[in-house]
Amino acid sequence: MAGWSEKVLDIDLNTHTHKIYPLDMEMARLFIGGRGLGARLLWDMVGPEVDPLSPENVLIFTNGPLTGTGYQTSNRFSVTTKSPLTGTILDANSGGFWGMQFKKTGYDAMIVRGKSETPVWIEIKNGEVTFHDASELWGMRVFALTEKLGQNNNKRNVLCIGPAGENLSRIAAIMNDRERALARGGPGAVMGSKNLKAVVVEGRERPEIMDQEQFKFLLYEARKSLAQSPLTSQALPEFGTVVLMNIMNTVGALATRNHQQTQFEGAEAISGEELTEKYLVKNASCWACPIGCTRISKTEKVEGEGPEFESTWAFGAQCGIDDLPAIIEANTLCNDLGMDTISAGSTIACAMELSEKGYMDSDLRFGRADQLAPTLEAMAYRQDIGSDLTDGSLRLAMKYHHSELSMSAKGMEMPAYDPRGMQGQGLLYATSNRGGCHMRGNMVGPEVLGAPKLIDRFQVQGKSSFVILHQNTAAAIDSLVLCKFTNYGVAEEYFARVLSAVTGIKYATGDMIKVGERIWNLERLYNLREGFTRKDDTLPARLLNEAPTDGPSQGWVVNLEPMLKEYYRGRGWDENGVPTKKKLTELKLEAL
């Protein structure tokens, strides 16, 4: 059927064998692909008895029906697994070229299970699977390995782990195309636990499109929309995602020094404007993306992709550092080591606060740019102080008996947006199925950027409706799989229409949101099965009790409880956050 290859590749690393079987098309219709398909497959394969770093955990790589079609940003893919950082269901998705190439190999999903006795890398070339010995590659960093395995953006693409993944850091990323990342929640550690160093893909299959005429029209209209929006046609191409630094600082929602403040006096020095003026070599794009938000930056020591806003914030404002070259170098180092920049930066910030307050014996201090690189190296190799930090801020803070200083939700470090200045963002973090994450929905759009229309960021009543809609929309986009930035320029109604044009199956706008709601509820069921409860839908006490003493968010804490009650009701869950039978039946999840 157009849109799907209808094939699943199932790899067993215990025996270095593989099977190919048909994709369940009813499952595909209900969950589409990407994150949704991954969640549905994981539900059957990995239960609460499975340790995330054991051979029984699986990695499920998925693309979507739009992947590789040439529709704007149709380059992305997902990995789904049980997170070694949070213990929740985890999916992470990434751009670049690998996802498009993976689609061309002719598979909708690739499941990797078991554990190889010795290090291995896998090559998938035109559907054929080959296992290669990776003993000599073990220990290599990401950039050198990517080059050695023959990365060629339009023909052959490399996905791999670095030292952080090998050393089972619970914040290790899986890297693709050198500097793109399946970053959050520790999927790199799962790959490392399987002794799997890399997956290289080459393919020739071209995705079929059922209604070419409608597809071309939608492509044309979406191009107009993206060109018309100043955000996607000017701000992101010119300044990258770091354009948000000054914006968030101005509204008093830029978490600073481990969320002790909501504005950073050094924001201007680490802003998108500064990055563009002094360090930008050029901008670049993922495959089939007209936006081009990728930065290629250069300092005296490094040249590489990024940094993104979140990375700049994590090593910058969150650590009290305004030295942009040091931040760029920390970002590049993290990519080479294969580590999530958000969790790495925020964990270092947590250690800085623990140390400054005398709870932890280390010389880490806010503002010390010189400490970033050595600390990251130590984390990736589990050396010295790095062994305390490499499993994330919650485990670190618990070790030193001050878990309240971990700025995380469900154990995952939150990104830059301080929710005391954005009430909806607070609810979003607290209810996110993979922990403190800004990609499970987009409240920055309505609460700060005015996309689609500006809403009052301090309003509490009614905010849950926005959070629910944006969570469902994000899950739908993640199942296609497209970049969230298209949502800043292209209306939601396009997603259903382009999916219909590609597959020939009629989807209405409401159907896509329903798919997103189905995915969200399935992920919720997964976490409930893992033992998560209502008490886990919360935020660090600092955000609930300590109001900023100055700035635009002065006097505000996250007013979580009334929003959460409204949220549960709006989702059709009971007062404990458990989906009701009626809701599960409505979503065709009653059998789970």
Partner: protein, 203 residues
């Protein structure tokens, strides 16, 4: 207790609809979704002069005493919320659009803004075009695919994430219809300026 910020949104959009000649004195209604509940204009209230007590909160699926006071179009609003991603609804009587709805099954704008943002607006027919389950169902069905639709001879229903957004679609529709009317009056051959314009009526 309804947040005063929410009341201000209702008051401002209601006034703008009246000033823009899109409703008569007591017609039209607005609502927003709050989880499993909604806030809607009180029955008989003047949309152009809303007071805080003119806003009624009630359930989307479940009745309570609020239904005794709510707008006569409550059923349509509820059905729309149950079947679409809408967080806000604007219903009004844009005059030029109503006039076009009397003779067409769909309105396909020719001006740049409406063609770009709305593509086309379906026209739904229902004999009992106010407050009935049949009307509610037809309107909600159409809004699954479009952000604004016309109920023939009655008026428009627009959905959005905010009242402001739904009002935007409404005002774009009425402006588009006025432009089409003027173009008709001028009665000269149309010079197509849009690429792939044949595709708009298939959207």
């Amino acid at each position: 207790m309804i947040d005063p910020r929410i009341y201000e949104q209702f008051r401002d959009i209601g006034r703008d609809l009246y000033v823009a000649n899109m409703i008569s004195s007591h017609a039209g209604n607005l609502s927003i979704r709050l989880g499993d509940r909604l806030i809607i204009k009180r029955r008989g209230a003047m949309l152009g002069q809303l007071k805080p007590h003119d806003l009624i909160e009630t359930g989307i699926e479940k009745n309570d005493s609020g239904v005794a006071l709510a707008s006569s179009e409550l059923l349509a609003h509820r059905t729309i919320y149950m079947n679409t991603p809408a967080l806000a609804i604007v219903h009004c009587h844009p005059r030029t659009a109503i006039a076009f709805s009397l003779s067409r099954d769909e309105i396909v704008p020719v001006d740049n803004e409406a063609a770009y943002l709305l593509k086309k607006i379906p026209v739904v027919t229902e004999e009992f075009a106010s407050g009935t389950p049949e009307m509610a169902s037809k309107v909600a069905d159409a809004l699954e695919n479009y952000k604004i639709i016309m109920l023939r001879g009655h008026g428009s229903f627009a959905i959005g994430q905010t009242l402001e957004e739904a009002f935007l679609w409404t005002s774009i529709l009425e402006e588009a219809c006025q432009i089409m009317l003027y173009a008709k009056l001028i009665d000269e051959p149309f010079i197509e300026y849009r690429k792939m314009s044949d595709s708009y009526n298939k959207f």
